[in-house]
C-alpha cells in the first residue's frame, strides 16, 4: 500500500447533503459530508445500518434512488460537475468510468440474460469495444478472478452460478470498461466467511492490477482493514473521522470510533471444566433428523452443562438451527433422543409437560418477528409469567417490572409500549425478558446478535453473560460469527453439512491442530490487522482458501 494521496484528485465531494422522502416530507440522510478520493486510491466507508453509506456511495456516481435527492453541495468527478450534469452526460460516465458492484449479485444480475451478455453490454453501449472483444476480455477477467471454467462460465444464466462466483462475475462486469472508479457496496455481506475471503482476495488483486480507485462500503471493520488505504467512519449521516487505515486502527481519535474497536475486546474469563460425573442440563444423543425424506442432521451428539455456554458454529445450511428445532421438539428426530437433567424428553413438543416446556426457552434472531407487533411489552412479558407461574394482577405486574429491570430497561417507560416503538437492541432485550419470565434452566440463542449493529450486539452479549452468572443459566449459542464465539462461549461445536465436525472447550478449539474444516473456518475470519489477508495468502496460497479449499475436505 503506497501513499496515494500524492496523486491527482479523482473525486471530490463538498458539503454534500442528501434527503429522503418519507410520509410526504423530506428528511435528511446525509448532512454535509466531504469526501476526497485520489486516483488509484481505495477508501473504506464504514458505519452501522442507517449511517447513509450506500446513499453516499451512489451519490458519488451522481445517482440517487427513487425518493432520494441531493439537496446541496457539489460532486466533481475528474472535472465534471455531477450534481448539475444532464442525464445524458452522466450516462456517458456510468459503467464506462464509474462502475458499481452491488451487495447481492444474485439479485443484481438480470435473470433473463447470460452473464457474458450482461458483461458485454456496457463496453458495447459505450463503444469501448466490439462485442467479440468484450466477450474475450470477459473470459480473461474471469480467469484473473480465479473463477472455475472461465471459458464457459459466462455462457450460463445467473441462477446456474453460485453466490460467491456471481459476486466475482459482477466484479468482472464492473471492470469491463476499465473504469477509473468502482463503488463496492457491501459486496461480501451476504456471503459465508469461507466464500467471502475468496471474493475479497479477488477484488483486492484486480483493483491493484488495473490501478482502479474504489470506494469500499461495509459495516465490517476487519474487512475494510484488508481492503482500504484510508477509512472514513460515518454515523447517522455525519462524518465521524477519517484517516489512513493503519493510524485509524491503531489510534482512533473519536469516542465513537474507539467504541467500535472496543467491541472486539469483550471476552469472558475461562471457566473451569464441569465435573466429570455432572449431569448435563441438556444432552443431545445421536440425533438424525430429516425434513421430508432428506436427512439434514446425521448422528449429532453434544452436552450442555449448567451455567455454561456452548456455541454451535457453522455456515448456512450446516444444520445448526435444525439442531435447535430438534431440542425444542418442533422437529421430532428420526433417531436419537434429547435429555433434560438426565430425563428423556418426549420428542414432540406437544407431548411435553408444561414444566418441561418451561425449562427450555428460545431467543430468536429477528426480534421483529419474535414479538407480536400488536401487544404491549407488558403483555408480551406478562403472558409467560401468568401462564407458567400463575401470577395475576399486582404480583404479575411486579414480576414483569422486575424482569424489565433485569434487562436494564426502566419498567415505567416501557410497559405500555408496542414493539414497533423500540429499537432493534431493545426488542432483543424484550425477547430475552420473555425467555427469563419462564424461569428456565436452558436458553437457545439463535443468531441473537447477527441482525444487530456491533455496539448494540456487544450490549446484548454482556447482558447475556451477566444473566448467566446471576441465574446459572445454560446457553446454546447458535452463530456463524467466530468473534461472538470468542467473546462468550465456554465450549464450541463446529458443524458442517449436518454433522458435528469437531467439538471441545473454547481454548482448545482456538489452538491448533484442528480438523481441516475448523482450520479453514477459523482462518477465513478476517482480523483487524491490515496485513492479515496478505499474510494468509502468503501462508496458504491462493488455491487453498474459500470454496476451493472447502471442496478438498
Amino acid at each position: 500500500m503506497t501513499d496515494t494521496t500524492a496523486r491527482p484528485v479523482l473525486l471530490q465531494m463538498r458539503d454534500i447533503r442528501i434527503e429522503g422522502r418519507s410520509d410526504e416530507t423530506w428528511t435528511p440522510i446525509i448532512n454535509g459530508v466531504d469526501l476526497t478520493l485520489h486516483k488509484g486510491e481505495v477508501l473504506g466507508l464504514i458505519g452501522e445500518s442507517g449511517a447513509g453509506k450506500s446513499t453516499l456511495g451512489l451519490a458519488a456516481m451522481g445517482f440517487t434512488r427513487d425518493g432520494v435527492r441531493i439537496s446541496g453541495g457539489s460532486i466533481t468527478f475528474d472535472g465534471i460537475d455531477l450534481v448539475n450534469a444532464s442525464a445524458e452526460q452522466k450516462r456517458q460516465l456510468l459503467g464506462k468510468r464509474i462502475a458499481y458492484v452491488a451487495q447481492s449479485a444474485a439479485a443484481s444480475f438480470n435473470p433473463a440474460h447470460k452473464l457474458i451478455d450482461q458483461h458485454a453490454e456496457a463496453p458495447v453501449a459505450h463503444g469501448t469495444a466490439t462485442r467479440a472483444e468484450a466477450e474475450e476480455d470477459g473470459i480473461e477477467l474471469y480467469r484473473k478472478l480465479r473463477l472455475p471454467n472461465p471459458d464457459e462460465i459466462g455462457f450460463r444464466y445467473p441462477h446456474q452460478v453460485s453466490g460467491g462466483q456471481l459476486q466475482r462475475a459482477m466484479v468482472a462486469m464492473a471492470m469491463s470498461c476499465r473504469p477509473d472508479l468502482i463503488i463496492f457496496d457491501e459486496p461480501t455481506t451476504a456471503l459465508d466467511v469461507t466464500t467471502q475471503i475468496e471474493v475479497l482476495a479477488a477484488i483486492r488483486h484486480i483493483v491493484a492490477e488495473f490501478d482502479t480507485a474504489a470506494i469500499y462500503i461495509t459495516h465490517d471493520l476487519a474487512v475494510v482493514a484488508q481492503m482500504a488505504d484510508r477509512i472514513k467512519v460515518l454515523l447517522r449521516g455525519d462524518e465521524v473521522e477519517e484517516s489512513d487505515t493503519r493510524s485509524m486502527l491503531e489510534q482512533p481519535q473519536e469516542d465513537y470510533t474507539k467504541s467500535l474497536w472496543a467491541v472486539r475486546e469483550f471476552q469472558r474469563p475461562d471457566k473451569p471444566p464441569p465435573a466429570v460425573d455432572a449431569t448435563p442440563v441438556i444432552s443431545v444423543q445421536g440425533i438424525t433428523a430429516a425434513y421430508g425424506k432428506i436427512d439434514v442432521l446425521h448422528d449429532v451428539s453434544f452436552d450442555i452443562h449448567a451455567g455454561r455456554t456452548v456455541a454451535v458454529v457453522g455456515e448456512s445450511g450446516s444444520g445448526k438451527s435444525t439442531a435447535a428445532r430438534v431440542i425444542t421438539g418442533l422437529l421430532p428426530p428420526r433417531v436419537g433422543q434429547v435429555e433434560l437433567d438426565g430425563e428423556t424428553l418426549p420428542l414432540d413438543y406437544r407431548k411435553r409437560s408444561k414444566d418441561q416446556l418451561r425449562q427450555v426457552q428460545m431467543i430468536y434472531q429477528m426480534a421483529d418477528t419474535a414479538l407480536n407487533p400488536r401487544k404491549t411489552i407488558g403483555e408480551i412479558i406478562g403472558r409467560p409469567v401468568q401462564f407458567y407461574m400463575g401470577l395475576r394482577g399486582r404480583r404479575k405486574r411486579d414480576r414483569v417490572a422486575e424482569l424489565l429491570d433485569q434487562i436494564e430497561l426502566p419498567p415505567e417507560t416501557y410497559l405500555d409500549r408496542l414493539p414497533s416503538e423500540l429499537s432493534g437492541g431493545q426488542k432483543q432485550r424484550i425477547g430475552i425478558a420473555r425467555a427469563l419470565a419462564a424461569e428456565p434452566r436452558f436458553i437457545i440463542c439463535d443468531e441473537v446478535t447477527s441482525a444487530l449493529d456491533q455496539l448494540v450486539a456487544e450490549g446484548i452479549l454482556r447482558l447475556l453473560a451477566r444473566l448467566q452468572d446471576e441465574l446459572g443459566l445454560s446457553y446454546m449459542f447458535i452463530t456463524h460469527d467466530l468473534a461472538t464465539v470468542r467473546s462468550i462461549a465456554d465450549e464450541v461445536v463446529v458443524m458442517k453439512d449436518g454433522r458435528v465436525v469437531e467439538q471441545g472447550p473454547k481454548p482448545e478449539m482456538f489452538r491448533p491442530p484442528h480438523h481441516p474444516y475448523t482450520d479453514l473456518l477459523l482462518s477465513s475470519v478476517p482480523e483487524m490487522d491490515p496485513d492479515w489477508l496478505t499474510n494468509l495468502l502468503k501462508e496458504r496460497g491462493v488455491d487453498d482458501i474459500g470454496d476451493a479449499s472447502a471442496d478438498k475436505i
Partner: protein
C-alpha cells in the same frame, strides 16, 4: 371532414405544440434541468392535457339552449358533470377540513394525512349510511305506495308532464321514484352488507382454521375452494339462482336465497385471503414461541393471529363489499336478484333504461337510469377510494 381527420389534425397540432413548448421552455429558462431532461413523451402529455382543458372550457361555455328554445343535451350533461365534480371536490375538501379540527386526536391525525379522494370516499359512505338507516324518515313516500299518475316525468313541472309532488316523477305503475331511489340505499346497500358479513364470518373462520391446523383440513378446504373458484362467480350465482327460484315459493324467499348463495360463493375468496394472511402470521417466531409455551388453539387464533390480521381483512372487507354489491346489482338488473316490491337500484336501471333515448328532448328524463346506476357506481367508487388509501397506508408503514 370526418371525425377521424379532425382527430388526426388535432393530434398533429398537439405534437407540434409540445415540441415548440419544450423548445421555448429550454430557451426561456436557460436550459433548466426541468426542461433539459424532459422526454418528448412528457412534453406531449402536457400539451395534450392543455388542449383537453381548453376544449373543456370552450364546450362548457356553449349555450345550453338553442335559439329555438330546445335544450342542447350534450352541453347540459357536460355542465352537470362539471358541477357535480366541483361540488364533490368542495364537499370532500370541507369534510376533510372538518375532520382535521373536530374529533379525537387520533381521528384528527388520520384526516391530516388523508388524500382528497379518500376524504370523498369516507364522506360518501357516511351519506349512504345515513340514507340507508333513516330511509323511512327521509323518503317522502313509502317504497311500495302506488299513485294515480303513472310515468310522470321528472322536473316537477306540470307543463312538461311532471308533478310537483314527485320531483323525479313516477314509474310505470305510479310509484314515486325519489322515494324508491332513497329506499334503494336501504335495500341494495343493506342486503349487500349483510351478505358480505356472512361471507366473512364463513370464509374468515374457515381460512384461519386452515392456516393454523394445516394438514388434511387445510387440504380439503383448499381443494374445495379451488373447485368453486374455477366457476366464474356471476355465472355460478346465476346457475344457483335458477335452482333457488324453483325452491322459492315467495319472492322474499328468493332474496334470502340470493344472500346465502352470494355469501357462499364470495366466502371462497375470503377463505383464500384469510388463509394466506393467517399463513404469513403463523410462520412468525412469536407464534412459534407461543406454541412452544404450550398455548391452546383458541389463544393462538384469537390473541396472537387475529389482532395482526385486522388491517388486511378490513381492506378486503371493503373490496368484497364492492364485489358483492355489484353482483347483486347485476343480478337485479338481469331480473333475478332482489325481487319487487322492494325498491332497488339494479331493477330500477332495467325498468328505466328505455328513457335514455329521450336524451335529446328531456335531459333530465334520460338522466334517471344514469342516476340509479350512478348511485351504485358512486358508492363502490367511494369504498374503493378508501380501501386504496388504506392499502397504500399499510404498505407504506411496512417500509
Amino acid at each position: 371532414m370526418s371525425v377521424w381527420t379532425m382527430i388526426l389534425i388535432a393530434l398533429v397540432a398537439i405534437a407540434v405544440a409540445a415540441w415548440v413548448g419544450r423548445f421555448v421552455g429550454r430557451r426561456a429558462t436557460g436550459n433548466a434541468p426541468r426542461f433539459r431532461d424532459m422526454p418528448y413523451a412528457v412534453a406531449f402529455g402536457y400539451a395534450f392535457v392543455l388542449a383537453l382543458l381548453v376544449w373543456a372550457v370552450w364546450y362548457y361555455l356553449q349555450p345550453a339552449v338553442t335559439e329555438a328554445g330546445a335544450p342542447v343535451a350534450g352541453v347540459t350533461f357536460f355542465r352537470w358533470a362539471v358541477h357535480a365534480l366541483i361540488v364533490f371536490a368542495i364537499a370532500a375538501f370541507l369534510f376533510r377540513l372538518l375532520g382535521r379540527h373536530v374529533g379525537t386526536s387520533a381521528t384528527r391525525k388520520l384526516f391530516r394525512h388523508m388524500p382528497l379522494t379518500a376524504a370523498f370516499g369516507v364522506l360518501v359512505i357516511l351519506v349512504y349510511a345515513i340514507l340507508a338507516i333513516f330511509a323511512p324518515l327521509i323518503a317522502p313516500y313509502g317504497q311500495a305506495v302506488v299513485f294515480d299518475q303513472v310515468n310522470a316525468l321528472p322536473g316537477g313541472n306540470p307543463a312538461t308532464g311532471g308533478n310537483p309532488a314527485h320531483p323525479l316523477g313516477t314509474d310505470q305503475i305510479g310509484r314515486d321514484l325519489l322515494s324508491r331511489l332513497i329506499y334503494g340505499a336501504q335495500n341494495t346497500v343493506g342486503i349487500a352488507f349483510v351478505t358480505t358479513l356472512l361471507a366473512f364470518v364463513l370464509g374468515g373462520s374457515l381460512g384461519f382454521l386452515a392456516a393454523v391446523l394445516r394438514g388434511w383440513f387445510d387440504q380439503l378446504m383448499s381443494r374445495a375452494v379451488d373447485v368453486l373458484m374455477a366457476i366464474p362467480s356471476l355465472i355460478f350465482a346465476l346457475l344457483l339462482m335458477t335452482i333457488a327460484s324453483a325452491w322459492a315459493t315467495q319472492s322474499w324467499m328468493l332474496t334470502v336465497y340470493m344472500v346465502f348463495i352470494i355469501a357462499v360463493i364470495d366466502s371462497t375468496r375470503v377463505f383464500r385471503l384469510s388463509r394466506a394472511v393467517g399463513m404469513n402470521i403463523v410462520v412468525m417466531d412469536y407464534i412459534e414461541a407461543a406454541k412452544l409455551r404450550g398455548e391452546g388453539l383458541g389463544y393462538l387464533i384469537f390473541r396472537e393471529i387475529l389482532p395482526n390480521a385486522y388491517a388486511p381483512l378490513l381492506a378486503e372487507f371493503g373490496l368484497r363489499f364492492c364485489f358483492v354489491f355489484l353482483t347483486i346489482a347485476s343480478l337485479s338488473f338481469l331480473g333475478v336478484g332482489i325481487q319487487p316490491p322492494l325498491a332497488d337500484w339494479g331493477t330500477m336501471v332495467r325498468d328505466l333504461a328505455q328513457f335514455i333515448n329521450f336524451a335529446a328532448f328531456s335531459p333530465l328524463t334520460a338522466a334517471l337510469p344514469i342516476m340509479a346506476a350512478g348511485a351504485i357506481a358512486l358508492l363502490t367508487v367511494a369504498v374503493n377510494f378508501v380501501v386504496d388509501w388504506m392499502l397504500h397506508r399499510s404498505s407504506g408503514l411496512k417500509e
